[in-house]
Symmetry: C2
Subunit: 390 residues, 2 copies
Amino acid sequence: MVVSITGDQALVKKINMSLALETIRVHAPVSRAQVAELTGLNKATVSNLVSDLLEQQLVTEIGPGQSSGGRKPLLLLFNRHAGHSIGIHLDVHSFSIALCDLSGQILFEKLNLRLLHSDPVQVTEQLSSVIQELIDLAPASPYGVIGIGVGAPGMVDEQGCVLFAPNLGWEQIPLRQWLQDRFTHIPVLVDNEANAGAIGEYEYGAGKHVQHLIYVSAGAGIGTGIMTRGEIFRGAMGYSGELGHMTIDVHGRKCSCGNRGCWELYASEKAILDPQKSLPFHTLYEAIQAAERDDADALHFLYQLGEYLGIGIANLVNGFNPDLIIIGNQFAHLERWIKAAVLRSVKQRALQSHQQNLNIVYAPLQQRSTLLGAANQAIRSFVGRAKVTV
Amino acid sequence: MVVSITGDQALVKKINMSLALETIRVHAPVSRAQVAELTGLNKATVSNLVSDLLEQQLVTEIGPGQSSGGRKPLLLLFNRHAGHSIGIHLDVHSFSIALCDLSGQILFEKLNLRLLHSDPVQVTEQLSSVIQELIDLAPASPYGVIGIGVGAPGMVDEQGCVLFAPNLGWEQIPLRQWLQDRFTHIPVLVDNEANAGAIGEYEYGAGKHVQHLIYVSAGAGIGTGIMTRGEIFRGAMGYSGELGHMTIDVHGRKCSCGNRGCWELYASEKAILDPQKSLPFHTLYEAIQAAERDDADALHFLYQLGEYLGIGIANLVNGFNPDLIIIGNQFAHLERWIKAAVLRSVKQRALQSHQQNLNIVYAPLQQRSTLLGAANQAIRSFVGRAKVTV
DNA sequence: CCAACTTTGTCTATCCAATAAACTAAGTAC
DNA sequence: GTACTTAGTTTATTGGATAGACAAAGTTGG
């Protein structure tokens, strides 16, 4: 019975191959000599690896570059057109989908399509038909569509089964399997929407090269994607991060989860439903509209929303000491209204030492964070990153 | 400039060597054939690795075992006497220290020694002298004392510098370096006390083979050691887990950290100092004494302490979905008084789905969790575990 | 008691990837 | 035009894993 990963030459090649490919991807355009320099691999080794990569069409040669006092280097590029990836952000009432190349460049996208039903079977049906459209739109390429990634609200296990998505009303829906059955030749991945968002911003947005970040997906509820050393933090059974249901007020109001005083009751769209307040608007959209008209109630409401968001963020900062907090999902658009309040709360409540290198931003990818993160997960598993810790 | 880890034959050997050693350690007594079976390595490879390990005296042959229908197997044992490790639990007013073998068996220990001063230089002095005593006591062995591990309260960075330990009154103390300067030939490691506790319980206590656990170190304050997939979770700059300063009551009292309503104000020894309560006891010890006499105030106080501890634990459960919560440090002794209250809070407040496989225990290693965890970190870095993710 | 079979562990030839060093190619500098 | 630099390839070597043959040491059943 084979369980563990053993070392052999195939593994060595895998490690060095992915190291070379990543180096080319990040530092492109780059010469073989530079890759050798950057990775610490021997020139000959790099030459061998690169010739394999050229054969696999994952890398292209774009001709000679400028000389630095000797023979001109032959510059290499990661071939982002070798294949395409499809990313999906499944939200509670809508979804967004995009087709992108291997560098995350979007070729086609459809944003905020309404879900026609909430029933998981019918949702799968609707998703599948749009996915097929994008597959048909994909330009010819050596590898075709190499994967489909989905970011879904709620808890998702390692098999891509949606265990619990209260806002969708789903339980134990093997979404990945259902989609995989439709697209048998394309790997399908399903992860939590906030995790995907964190990955998206890490790869293509605010978090480029920031190794420790937290993506706070605030909208209908709150979810968090926590990244350390460039890796998503996963709890037991592969899922975690229901930090929206962290108690911030022991004596607070009852939450649907059974607890009291959950963060997301005060810092997500759910705050509008606070029975004690009887606010003159019923959705976030309406609140913003009112705020645009300088409505005092709305402005005050949004400020409070920011304060509470900041309280939870301060907790995250104390607990994880991230370098970057990214406020995403619908709240990415609220910067204008909540920025000051969020900063005030965090400044007041987070440990001084943890605030030194802290940055708080509003997802620059906006509604595309999760989309691109999901697509990126498919890309990752295609190009296959091998890592070693000694 | 060499940055990344590249693959070569030495790496392959390292990976397989550590795999073989770990397999022998875990499954001992075991034959070469079984190791090959268990790891997936070739018989010849295992023979080679084992002969190296025998030469290095990390493994011993203890003669033939029972035949299963053919030649008798030659049984192998991990040589836990190849060297010794020293583990230290540094607390606010006291420290504990032990000398143990490579399997974590304690040979000598000194528990709860009072710190004579709180000044870091003098603390280092005192620690060093006791460490030297234990080094002198260590039996002769091939490798001698292979490392010194320290678990310290507060934030510790990757270099073993105590960045911030409010309860000790320390800031920016390069404890590891200071100790390393004293014991130049023995590697010194310093980590957070709760992280070490988590490792201790994972390796030798309640958490054996439980991949996702949280060690809640409750005493003078609260610290948490979070373990996923058998690895300690570390935030930015290598430290994190100041979850004792997570807000659980937005309108709560002021904490020394600047925030309001921090968990540890209500669920650690600090709860005794609540000015609103003016309790008739001033230390946890006194409270327990009173409770032993069935003092109503004390019993009620301890019950509340348990409730608040449970509230924070529920947050942890929602956030990390662990399989096991271990309540350690001084609170490990409070099971009798707080168990019901803790369970009640958690049951009431944690997500139902996360409670399914959840277990809550009181550190069976008691005051030795951190000690053994710290010693184990030294052992780990000595036997050198290599891991690969593909 | 012996022949057939099993299991354990080692030996041998082979493979494969990385590597150093030599080498070719193609430029610059003065 | 000679000396030097830099880029990339070729060649011989190294070291570890592997399959398969083999030796060692047992069991089983007639």
